[in-house]
């Protein structure tokens, strides 16, 4: 297939989408574009496909309407009480936490970790007289990204934490003391994974029958509920 054929095909797919965009009021257009940028590649592809269906005059009104409703659902385009579109992560966390105790605990911990991290980072930057712009340059990111971390609008990844720690010449635990706890829990979760191929030392240890069988058979405990 030639390049021009590919371009023509891409344009023909984009026409219904562009027509829809032009017809939108400016505020809705802004919210829509924002939602489309934040969603996954899969959802974006589904949305574009739904636009083609919505614009296909050979289909019934019901089918075309269904396609539009799917787009609204996928991009969370139903405005909230204050007229905002898009998914509010903080609100969805709050809602989930109110229904599940484990999530409530997890969300509480994550909020605390993020807040402590932001405080520590701010304090270290102040002590070391480093501006957001300078730190951004040192860790190869943008100043708004640093600002988001300081304002708890994003959770730094492990590699980012390492970069910041190096840039500030501190141990990473000074920035995120719970890192070791997370690492330990990760190792426990990973330990429970089925289908893992044993390492050679593990296989040697588990094939080694020189270790005598334990004589312990354990003891049951009574149940309080019974």
């Amino acid at each position: 297939m030639s390049t021009s054929e590919t371009s023509n095909e891409a344009i023909s797919h984009a026409i219904p989408f562009l027509r829809f965009l032009i017809s939108m009021p400016p505020r809705a257009l802004e919210e829509f574009c924002h939602a489309l940028m934040e969603c996954s590649g899969q959802i974006r592809a589904d949305v574009l496909q739904m636009f083609e269906i919505a614009e296909d005059e050979s289909l019934s009104v019901d089918e075309r309407g269904h396609a539009l409703r799917t787009i609204v659902d996928q991009l969370h385009l139903i405005p909230d009480d204050e007229g905002r579109f898009g998914m509010d992560l903080a609100r969805s966390e709050e809602l989930a936490a109110s229904n599940f105790p484990a999530l409530a605990y997890q969300v509480g911990r994550m909020n605390l970790q993020e807040s402590e991290f932001a405080d520590r980072l701010r304090h270290l930057m102040k002590t070391k007289h480093i501006t957001q712009k300078e730190l951004a340059a040192r860790i190869d990111c943008t100043q708004p990204a640093i600002s988001q971390m300081l304002n708890r609008k994003c959770r730094p990844q492990r590699k980012t934490l390492n970069k910041i720690a190096t840039a500030l010449a501190v141990d990473v635990r000074e920035l995120w003391p719970d890192l070791e706890v997370s690492e330990y829990l990760d190792s426990v979760a990973e330990f429970q994974q089925d289908d893992r191929i044993m390492t050679e030392p593990e296989a040697v240890a588990l094939r080694d029958t020189s270790q005598p069988r334990s004589k312990l058979k354990g003891q049951p405990l009574p149940s309080r509920k019974k």
Partner: protein, 176 residues
Amino acid sequence: MSKHQLSADLFTEADQQQLASFSCGDTVVGRACTEWIRGSDVLDSMQRGSGVWLYRNSDDEIVGFGSLGPIRWRWPLPDGDYAKLAIIPMLGIDERFQGQPPGKEWRYSRQIMNHLIYEAHVFSAMQKKPVEWLLLLVHPENKPAIKLYEEFDFVMIPDVRRGAANSCVMKHRLAE
């Protein structure tokens, strides 16, 4: 029956509401244990088939928790066959009850270990082929735990460290 006798009941998600003040202490391992039972890790572990028990004393206080689960690991190639093993994913004791009661006979940690080994035998008996090994992960700096496990015939697997936490693996060859 001693007043120090623990009871063991299977943990459910609803029990998490009773764990608001449960804490295994402020060490890395203590915080990890607390987070495991109060957060979503315990639920993930149960989804993978683990049994989790809450241990209570005669005053109905939650002393600790323990867990036991199956895993299927594969032998290295060219064998590649599956080995069914039992593991203790996590156990923890509330800091108020650590090292309690004085005297080994009714020590809570020992009652919990004995119970988990008993449950490992129950699990093994339910399999077509008995399970030979019971494994657990231990933080390399958790010396009291390593000592406790050794008293229950766990042996450190040499040259094996797991994850960024550098955790050690201990093995116990179950009785026939």
